[in-house]
Symmetry: C2
């Protein structure tokens, strides 16, 4: 019977992941929101395009929960196109002939930036659950060290979808003078109860796997791949709309003419989900999943600003473009409207577009003409104000 | 650390579950949709109120996925009120002073009706995964044997929410002359791709638990309680609306003033979900969960009727009242409208009410005045037509 994925991951990771690495926090460790300090730690990042002489054309693209720094080109682990292949590149909406795009693996991640799967220099053993719990603000704090290191005074734009939107908002709130424009896509100013609940289901699925070994699976030479696959499946359903699932799969049967009257994947949608689960465990670390979902759950720009979201953006000169998708029920348009209202309350420069799409939350990763035109048009206008030459 | 529930269930089951038992299929086994036969098998059921002399006042209340026959009074296992306590009883919307209410544990269940945890008489061992895969039509087929046994020619009403609605629709389609009225609540004529996907996540969570033992956990004296708890948590989020979660929990912290910066249940919503998971495993069988979710996934009155739902109800004299809830995103109103359109297409006697509620799919189990008035009013009208005396 075809049940939950079993056996070890089948993908062979390259001996060394390609791209840039830079170490921070050796001399002065970074102080985290939880009070702990971290250092030294590594940030792994990629760049696309060329930084201009004035260093005024840098776009920081922030990845979502399960993304990484490889946003375009062939991914070194999965062999598949990068997560923002449609969006970033020569002649694309974020045009690498005009902009210098930076994408860094988030703190707590598992693609080169320091996270729970790495060795704690203090003990010589993998961090596991002794890795400090990090927040979106910590992720952004680490990114700022990278931007300082690159000698960039002001980012032309910070953008990203989902957790990427949280980072864009956090950048604008924490370092307003460093952000010329910000484009939070399919995001929210704080994680909702429903979204915390979905994340908790995923975490419990991982922790329920005996191979998780209370977080210490690396020392036991195990991988909680069954639990992680279930977490991925549960999350994946929330990234799609009911309409998209109906359009793509409906009640179509998978490679059969009749129901099996068993527990195999009779329906295409089941087969698709199982595939999502089993491929995910080949590229993602279970503890990273715990830490990054936790960072999203903790994200709350409202409580961080005395219960008044507008205070996060008081006096901001950043130009904002807030984007949501009609069929996104995980980060619905109402969340984006809350952000826009707060920005309006402090007379910030903000435009807002709700893109009509039936693709659900994942629309920000997909080929959506209206979305692309919106982002490209907004960036064009900002580029003119910033004095960036057309390619 | 407070992670997924561990250790054996803490509830002590009574030596014998109270209520009626009746055996069927000894002389002639029941033929199932999958082609297998089943017999002998037991149906466990409860009744409330008194059957009148004409046997014309019987209401069959069909329970949902995780419900059972104990719809009112104190539940013999959990010690909590029955699942339709608000709805059924003296003077309640389904008035037991007027109606004789029957509720049977579904085939494949785990509260006395034969299911995978019972002993297969052919082998003397628990059925486990050798139990045949059943459908909603099979569940209803078994219920019809019970209704025959009780000497009831025509049910005054068949009703239920969620999977209960599926059974009500199946009754009306399979045995129209046996159903005077039918009230499918928060249901659908076929299970959607999104709902199959959510069920598949739950099944994979159970199957990922090593204690599931490929379905044979009873022989190994194990219980896959971690997997079942995760399945329950994943499902439970879908039963509530975003608004209800926000109203009940928001981002409130659980018994603390500050974030823990750990993986404990910092938020009330996490603690609530964990509780849902850990109490569920004390009263439900994991294999039953697989079988009953499968029955729901297979439910498709459309394909059963040459792709035309209206054909299911052609010539029907049953009086229908279709009820949905505005905030139910699992079985949205559009599903109920599809049923109503099909009934209209064959000029059936149908009324339709979309009840305004922010309680999500679970609204059918909760205290909702408009819902109660609707059901009570409809039954009153039907009772008059049926010549039932007022209490």
């Amino acid at each position: 019977m075809n049940v939950a994925p079993s056996g070890p991951p089948r993908v062979v990771w390259p001996a060394e992941l390609p791209g840039y690495r830079v170490e921070f926090g050796r001399a002065a460790p970074m102080v985290l929101d939880c009070g702990a300090t971290l250092g030294p730690f590594t940030i792994a990042y990629q760049t696309y395009g060329t930084l201009n002489a004035d260093k005024t054309n840098a776009v920081l693209a922030c990845h979502a929960l399960t993304g990484d720094q490889y946003l375009m080109g062939i991914h070194p682990v999965t062999g598949k196109p990068g997560w923002w292949e449609h969006m970033v590149g020569p002649g694309k909406p974020i045009d690498t002939e005009r902009y210098f795009v930076i994408c860094a693996n988030v703190l707590g991640g598992c693609m080169g930036t320091t996270g729970p799967k790495n060795i704690d220099p203090a003990t010589g053993k993998p961090w596991g659950l002794s890795f400090p719990v990090i927040t979106v603000a910590d992720i952004v704090r680490a990114q700022k060290l990278l931007i300082d290191h690159l000698g960039i005074d002001q980012l032309f734009c910070v953008t990203g979808g989902s957790m990427g939107a949280m980072q864009a908002l956090q950048w604008a709130a924490s370092y307003p003078e460093r952000v010329f424009s910000a484009v939070p896509i399919a995001g929210a100013a704080r994680h909702s109860a429903q979204n915390i609940a979905f994340h908790e289901v995923g975490r419990q699925a991982i922790m329920a796997d005996p191979d998780w070994c209370e977080g210490d699976y690396q020392s036991h030479d195990k991988v909680p791949h069954r639990g992680l696959a279930v977490a991925r499946m549960a999350a994946h359903v929330t990234y799609l709309s009911e309409a998209a699932l109906h359009r793509k799969f409906g009640r179509n049967l998978q490679d059969r003419e009749k129901l099996s009257y068993g527990f195999e994947a009779d329906f295409e949608v089941e087969s698709y989900l199982r595939h999502q689960g089993s491929t995910f465990v080949e590229r993602f670390d279970a503890n990273s999943y715990l830490y990054i979902t936790r960072a999203m759950d903790y994200f709350d720009l409202v409580s961080e600003h005395e219960g008044v979201l507008a205070n996060a953006f008081k006096g901001s000169k950043t130009r904002f473009c807030v984007i949501s998708f009609t069929s996104d029920w995980l980060f619905p348009t109402s969340e984006s409207r809350t952000i826009v209202r707060a920005l309006n309350a402090v007379a910030a420069n903000v435009s807002f577009v709700e893109v009509k799409s039936d693709k659900g939350h994942d629309a920000f990763l997909l080929d959506e003409v209206e979305f692309f035109k919106t982002l490209n048009g907004f960036l064009d206008g900002c580029a003119e104000h910033r004095g960036l030459k057309r390619p």
